[in-house]
């Protein structure tokens, strides 16, 4: 089942020039995690979408065999055409595949580096089990340099509080939304 899902996901995010494909980004471990973590309903939806992807080349590239037997170019055309297929339910099933494939691909350190973004830290997956949960104390405020520079421009343009019609907390100066 995992192989079926893997085939569909990597077909939507193949290598393209210097951008690595999902197949190169540890997708097998991600799929194992998904199967373990997700609800039965969600996983069933993913598998159903992968089955539809496998069996539907006749509808897109007019080949009467499963997607696994398509050439590389045919498979690419199949993914593109199925994602934009006129039948709504087909498109929606493919949205599910793209959502998960896009999640695995787009959050990878390699793709984030391409976007000049730091790698995500590991998701802790933890929760509070203690009887007394302490109120968290935020650290010092530290916006990144690009935001500070943009903020200065905003102040120079007189837009520190731009558009907020009236101050908050004063009865005669309420922002009730109806002024618009």
């Amino acid at each position: 089942m995992n192989e079926l899902v893997r085939f569909a996901l990597v077909s939507f995010f193949p290598r393209e020039g210097d951008l690595p494909g999902l197949a190169e980004l540890g997708v097998d471990e991600r799929i194992r995690e998904l199967r373990r973590d997700s609800t039965a309903l969600f996983w069933t939806g993913i598998v159903a979408a992968a089955v539809v992807f496998q069996l539907s080349p006749i509808l897109t590239v007019h080949r009467p065999w499963p997607a696994v037997f398509l050439s590389e170019d045919e498979l690419d055309a199949h993914a593109q055409k199925l994602a934009t297929h006129p039948v709504y339910l087909l498109r929606q099933l493919i949205v599910l595949l793209k959502l998960m494939g896009g999640t695995f691909w787009g959050q990878s350190p390699e793709v984030r580096a391409f976007l000049h973004l730091p790698a995500y830290p590991e998701d802790p997956g933890t929760r509070r089990v203690e009887a007394h949960v302490a109120r968290p104390v935020p650290g010092p405020r530290a916006p990144v340099a690009a935001l500070v520079t943009l903020g200065r421009k905003e102040e120079e343009r007189g837009r520190s509080h731009a558009g907020v019609p009236r101050a908050l907390g004063e009865p005669e100066a309420r922002h009730h939304g109806e002024e618009a």
Partner: protein, 503 residues
């Protein structure tokens, strides 16, 4: 000092707890009501279906958010012609953990409409709601997005509104000293957003109340027509296996704040008979358009949502907003597949997402499904679809006014990209909801408020008609859409109704 109790293992004994009030749900409505009751000297127990995650537990990735914060992996969708997702969280703090904490006061015309159509004393309710909104703004540090937290996504939108000559503003949010980390949707690890798990829920414990987390309620307990408590089983949030039973008995009342999708279903499962139960479900369906700019926008750097316009709230009935979505979500949302999709993604740094939320009049239903979950039937009628389309065209024109080279409309049947002289294609675009990718994020109704028990589930005080000691304190009681972000209204209404119980 009270305590927090959660699922720890199957060997836990049955838990029996007594309280003055039990509050189901710890999001905007539940937490706001619970803290008012606790401040009034009552012993309160909050029962929350999801786990308690502190900022140190928040995920960074979208996958982690779906797994750890979203209800059922975000898999609840409308069951109508179009399958649009209904976005809600399941954790202590509820959806306040994953939203943008946007603060807009309840518009006066909403109270007038509730009086006219639902027999509520609108003027009296308005004054009390606004008074609580004053308090909430102070307590939860409502602030304008600071200039050095906005990012280009938001400043470009202000440029566009200025160029087109309509009113707009940088948002006011429950966020103290926001630094623009762009992680509202995954929970603010910087601890700036004032979600209720950081303030009101801990305060309830400090005042002697208890919090049960990972404890979905199975049903409300009744003695005759009087609600006397709730019962259920703890559930392991990782494996979703049931654990020990619990029962919370409430001497004075049961307050339902489980959300617009869960409260009607829970009341139906508990045997409540009301012809209005599950009716008048409404929403602000939202969708967006990407603008493609010559220079990088880096939408993920800066506040997730920082700019809005309410200039079109009354006519045609729209709100315009910014919304940054992370790269992994953009990868799945761009049209196409395969190498073409990856080629399109290369422009991520240069795209900005602005959205429209429709103040829709269409109404649907919320009912329990065969497996016990919520079944949402909701579809926009033609008039609302026209607003929807108009909002998208306005967003498209904003992008071009801000200097975008092209836009990516994401509408089935239209080209992948449109230029400035092609916005008319959106004006004349399809009215079939299946051609659009949208979500329902602001939900209302299901247990609507009305003086008439045939029309509504609760009265003007949030009390369920025909019962004693049973109240609804979440968005399910709001009988109409607001045309503004609802969190501030939900919190204030819940506060008003809890205050009635204290006095």
């Amino acid at each position: 000092m009270g305590k927090h109790v959660t699922f720890e293992g199957f060997s836990q004994p049955v838990l029996e707890v007594d309280a003055d009030f039990v509050v189901v749900g710890s999001g905007a409505g539940g937490a706001a009501a619970a803290v008012i009751l606790a401040r009034g000297g009552h012993r309160v127990v909050i029962v929350e279906a999801g786990p308690w995650r502190a900022p140190e537990d928040y995920p960074s990735t979208t996958y982690g958010a779906m797994r750890d914060l979203f209800a059922d992996w975000g898999s609840l969708v409308t069951q109508s012609r179009a399958l649009w997702p209904v976005v809600q969280a399941s954790c202590v703090g509820g959806t306040t953990v994953i939203n943008s904490a946007i603060v807009v006061r309840t518009p006066a015309d909403c109270f007038e409409r509730w009086e006219r159509e639902y027999g509520i004393d609108g003027a009296a309710l308005r004054e009390r709601v606004w008074a609580h909104q004053d308090r909430l703004e102070r307590e939860l540090s409502a602030e304008v997005v600071p200039p050095d937290a906005r990012g280009l996504l938001n400043t470009l939108a202000m440029d566009a509104a200025d160029a087109l000559g309509f009113d707009s503003h940088y948002m006011v949010r429950y966020a103290k000293d926001c630094e623009g980390a762009g992680q509202c949707l995954q929970g603010c690890r910087k601890m700036r957003k004032q979600s209720t798990n950081l303030n009101y829920v801990p305060e309830v414990i400090e005042r002697g109340g208890d919090v049960l987390s990972s404890a979905p309620v199975a049903r409300v307990l009744f003695e005759g027509t009087r609600a006397v408590g709730v019962t259920g089983r703890f559930r392991d949030p990782a494996t979703r296996r049931d654990g020990a039973r619990y029962t919370v008995r409430a001497r004075r009342g049961v307050l339902m704040g489980a959300s617009a999708t869960q409260t009607p279903v829970l009341l139906a499962r508990s045997g409540l008979k009301s012809r209005a139960l599950g009716s008048l479900f409404r929403a602000h369906p939202g969708t967006g358009i990407f603008g493609v700019y010559a220079d990088p926008v880096d939408q993920n750097v800066g506040a997730t949502q920082g700019w809005a316009s309410m200039a079109f709230r009354v006519e045609p009935g729209l709100k315009l907003e910014t919304l940054a979505i992370p790269p992994e979500m953009v990868a799945g949302r761009l049209p196409g597949g395969g190498r073409e999709l990856v080629r399109r993604f290369r422009e991520y740094r240069n795209i900005a997402m602005w959205v429209t939320a429709v103040r829709a009049e269409s109404a649907g239903t919320i009912k329990p499904g065969l497996l016990g979950g919520a079944v949402v039937r909701y579809q926009l009628d033609e008039a609302d679809m026209r607003k929807f389309r108009k909002g998208l065209a306005m967003v498209a024109r904003m992008h071009f006014a801000a200097g975008a080279r092209e836009i990516i409309p994401g509408i089935y049947g239209l080209p992948y990209k449109l230029g400035p002289d092609q916005v008319g294609l959106i004006d004349e675009g399809p009215l079939d909801p299946r051609c659009y990718i949208a979500i329902l994020s602001h939900l209302f109704g299901g247990c609507p408020m009305s003086a008439d028990p045939r029309q509504g589930v609760v009265d003007a005080g949030g009390k369920v008609h025909g019962t004693e000691g049973l109240y609804v304190v979440d968005a399910s009681a709001i009988p109409t859409t607001l045309g503004v972000n609802p969190q501030h209204t939900i919190m204030a209404l819940a506060s008003v109704w809890a205050e009635n119980l204290v006095s």
